[in-house]
Amino acid sequence: MTQFNMPTVGEQLRENGISRRAFLKFCGLLASSMALAPSMIPKLAEALEKATRPSVIWLSFQECTGCAESITRAHSPSLEGLIFDTISLDYQHTLQAAAGEAAEQARDEAMQANYGKYVLIVDGSIPLGNAGYSTIAGVSNLDMLKQVAKGAAAIIALGTCAAYGGLPQANPNPTGAVAVADIIKDKPIINVPGCPPIPVVITGVIAHFLAFGLPALDHLGRPKAFYGQNIHDRCYRRPFYERGLFAETFDDEGAKQGWCLYKLGCKGPITYNACATTKWNDGTSFPIESGHGCIGCSEPGFWDFGGLYNPVSLPSSLSSQHVVFATGIGVAAGVAIAALNKQAKQQAKQTREPVNVDQLNREVQL
């Protein structure tokens, strides 16, 4: 890691009264959320302790502030302290005290002082349709992204909008919205999708980057530690799927007993994210646990998957009334989806085309 003439994270933590024990406990939780072996905990602790507080510049473009809200929800022992003490968040519209010219000065100074070393976080897509569609301090999003990316050590594209274009890019993409990776080609980019991403996944990725540098990424640029698993494969309702037991409405007996939400349109089978394992808001619940199907929010193009309540393995024109026969073929369809999904994703890697349900459906029918 880059060295600064600043206290290390470890020093900061001790000065701020965070005990060694609490810190190690945090590292343990972090390691488990990052799917690291227990033997890695001391290494993680060591790496975090030695890391200085790198400057982080956060640019918000076509966004809803949900990603920034999400990071404030991150639980874990002393996590709040760690967020404040691990990085120096030098520009972040939602939280920073300074406004206007002073805020822009803060950004300029942080860029100059840490040129080549700072981490750039971007939330929101970038509209290419017209420079006037989104500006900050009179500067277009495109210009500001290019300017700030130039001196960045790495970029975290936070949320599905920054990672893949997200909602603004959904059909018919009225503003010509694109992802960070569509513009910046010469910097390492970590995509952290989700609408928003899980709070502890955001902080986990930042911590991983500080401790170990770039994490291993999947073919869509997502850290494997958090996006390597299919939600359906990890879902606690999966056994009911295998047995062909499905909720038919939101409050029938199946819904009450926690049966599979496949027929209510759950996109778990085509979605890769940590919701089913990490869960949300301090492990309280996750969408499927609270009775609503996964909407697939960490996948490129998920807004055009063909309807929240249409089952993924069937033609989207059929409604849930017509899918009774799905019970019988559920298992086989699930297997087919997994294989086809892999194939479609492989293809997506080359073309950067979103994988959508229609494609999958076509292949299922063939």
Binding site: M6, N16, S55, S60, Q62, C64, T65, G66, E69, T72, A74, E80, D85, S88, Q92, T94, L95, Q96, A97, A98, A99, G100, E101, A103, E104, A131, G132, S134, T135, G138, S140, L167, A170, P172, P174, T175, A177, C195, P196, P199, Y236, R237, F250, D251, A255, K256, Q257, W280, N281, T284, F286, P287, E289, S290, G291, H292, I295, W303, Y309, Q321
Partner: protein
């Protein structure tokens, strides 16, 4: 001498807002409010399944992360005359109320406080005196010992001494407009950090019923979470106990920290009870039904318009009347085919995206022409303010007992007349007081939910109109609500099971919109007029008044359809 003071970005808000102030000496002569970002969510919604709309609309905003989902669901239910089970109504009330309490507290501590609280000054505080102050202000809040504040101060000192101020860098610390003694600053900074921890615990109410936060899940026709006391995979006794615990945590924090802090801080800024009002016109749509949204008398917050501060007369509001709510684009980056002077009701909306502003990078907007992505909504041609102040005035005018008592006792504590409400600090205080009313109401809704379940009613979803085949071929409806930032409504037109038109007019469009065709200023613009800036390079005065509205900036997107046959208006925060 006139000069233009520009503040862009306005930070500590949701979204992208720019304020330009035309100065006469050190006084703001005219202010201009500009939303500088558009996405086009409503055009994206066209042709989609109305049951899906909530998820798209919800992404209008991730701060008030519930409200657009809820307004969307209600618009579909209104269009289809789709009733929801009583349990679902109660759970929605709890979720909306939780959004208020969470959002208002975060606004106060994390978005607004730093306009009044000097973080650096807290380093000079005497921890013992701070402890005494805290125990006077809030006798029952446990985090109030000398040692606690000494620790907090030490933490802050290490942070500042390390030289990396992060989010606190480059602010206007030491500006003479900051009036709090160091001890009050230290107490407030400590509560800033406590509120950050508190909010992530109480937000779990959304996670329990909606699976996650930000952006919890909803469903047209009810709520997605099933109730079954005998299941480990539904809302059961354990979940309900968690909810009860959260409600208690919310009320405790509001009573013991948020309300006392607001009154304590306000006491040092009485001059801010004399400026920053703006329009004097206020509007609410109403919300929090005891029974159904269509029984307005059962709503906690009534609907109406107050003009020129006259609390003796409440005008009725009709969301469907063509001549009541209209939108103007004379100073917005859109064009109307019938000319820029007309006003159109959302159902007749017809607009086209038309950026005519300066080519970025620019230093100044052309305020005599179009200068914002927001439109200018008007009620019967009048600019009105929406939000907490409007709601508290409406409750006060309607003699709602708790509102009367809270307003009167707060004014008495501060030794201020009723007119003090019409101000920057009055708006901020109104937000705090309504939070207390709503947090207290949560217990009643929760008790009703328990009683209902106890009586054997576990219905949470009405499946009768779920299938589009059961819908009429044409339907239209409006989903309204009181969002934390004010009156919000989504208008939807459904044709053959798909969305034919979708429009949202959001609170911050009412408040932050630009001048209309008659050059009437919007609420932000009017509220800034006459402010004196101590130092135009450090315009903390502008931040105070703008933040008192809690901006959540809408971007209004108005686009033609691909064939160009029909113009559709969509409006996005």
């Amino acid at each position: 001498m006139t000069e233009r003071v520009v503040v862009d970005p306005i930070t500590r808000i949701e979204g992208h807002l720019r304020i330009e102030a035309q100065m006469n000496g050190s006084t703001i002569e005219q202010a201009y409010s500009a939303g500088t970002m558009v996405r086009g969510i409503e055009i994206i919604l066209r042709g989609r399944d109305p049951r899906d709309a909530w998820a798209y609309a919800q992404r209008i905003c991730g701060v008030c992360t519930l409200v657009h989902g809820m307004a969307s669901i209600r618009s579909v239910e209104d269009a289809l005359k789709y009733s929801i089970p009583h349990n679902a109504q109660l759970i929605r009330n709890l979720m909306i109320a939780a959004q208020y309490v969470h959002d208002h507290v975060m606004h106060f501590y994390h978005l607004h406080a730093l306009d009044w609280v000097d973080v650096v000054s807290a380093l000079k505080a005497d921890p013992k005196a701070t402890s005494e102050l805290a125990q006077t202000v809030s006798p029952h809040w446990p985090n109030a010992s000398t040692g606690y504040f000494a620790d907090q101060q030490a933490k802050l000192k290490k942070f500042v001494d390390a030289g990396q101020l992060g989010i606190f860098a480059k602010a206007y610390w030491g500006h003479p407009a900051y009036k709090l003694p160091p001890e009050a600053n230290l107490m407030a900074v400590s509560h800033y950090l406590e509120a950050l921890q508190w909010q992530r615990d109480v937000v779990k109410l959304h996670t329990i019923f909606g699976g996650k936060n930000p952006h919890p899940n909803f469903v047209v026709g009810g709520v997605p979470c099933a109730i079954d006391l005998n299941s480990d995979s539904a809302i059961n006794a354990k979940r309900l106990a968690q909810v009860q615990d959260i409600i208690q945590k919310m009320r405790t924090f509001v009573d013991q920290v948020y309300v006392p802090d607001t009154l304590a801080i306000a006491g040092f800024y009485k001059d801010w009870f004399k400026q920053g009002e703006g329009l004097g016109n206020f509007m609410t749509y109403g919300d929090f039904p005891e029974k159904s949204l269509y029984e307005p008398e059962s709503c906690l917050i009534p609907r109406g318009v107050i003009l020129n501060r006259d609390l003796s007369r409440i005008y009725p509001v009709d969301l469907n009347a063509d001549d009541q709510i209209q939108e103007f684009v004379a100073h917005s980056w859109y064009s109307y085919s019938g000319g820029q002077t007309q006003g159109l009701h959302p159902y007749q909306g017809e607009t086209e995206l038309n950026y005519t502003g300066p080519q970025p990078p620019y230093t100044q907007l052309e305020v005599d022409k179009a200068y914002s992505w927001l439109k200018s909504p008007r009620w019967q041609g009048k600019a009105v303010e929406v939000g907490p102040l409007a709601r508290m005035l409406m409750l006060y005018a309607g003699n709602y007992p708790q509102a009367k008592e809270l307003v009167d006792s707060s004014l008495k504590t501060l030794d201020l007349p009723i007119d003090a409400l019409y101000s920057t600090m009055g708006r901020t205080a109104a937000r705090t007081l309504e939070t207390k009313i709503i947090a207290d109401k949560m217990q009643g809704w929760f008790d009703s939910l328990i009683a209902n379940i106890k009586a054997g009613d576990t219905k949470t979803f009405n499946e009768t109109l779920w299938e589009p085949a059961s819908w009429p071929s044409q339907a239209q409806g409006v989903g309204f609500m009181e969002a934390p930032r004010g009156a919000l409504a989504h208008w939807i037109v459904i044709e053959h099971g798909k969305i034919a038109n979708y429009q949202a007019v959001v609170p911050s469009t009412w408040n932050a919109g630009p001048r209309d065709v008659n050059n009437q200023a919007g609420a932000y613009e009017a509220s800034l007029q006459g402010h004196v800036l101590h130092d135009p390079k450090q315009p903390v005065e502008i931040l105070r008044t703008i933040h008192s509205f809690d901006p959540c900036i809408a971007c209004a997107v108005h686009v033609t359809d691909p064939e160009g046959e029909e113009l559709v208006k969509v409006q996005v925060r």
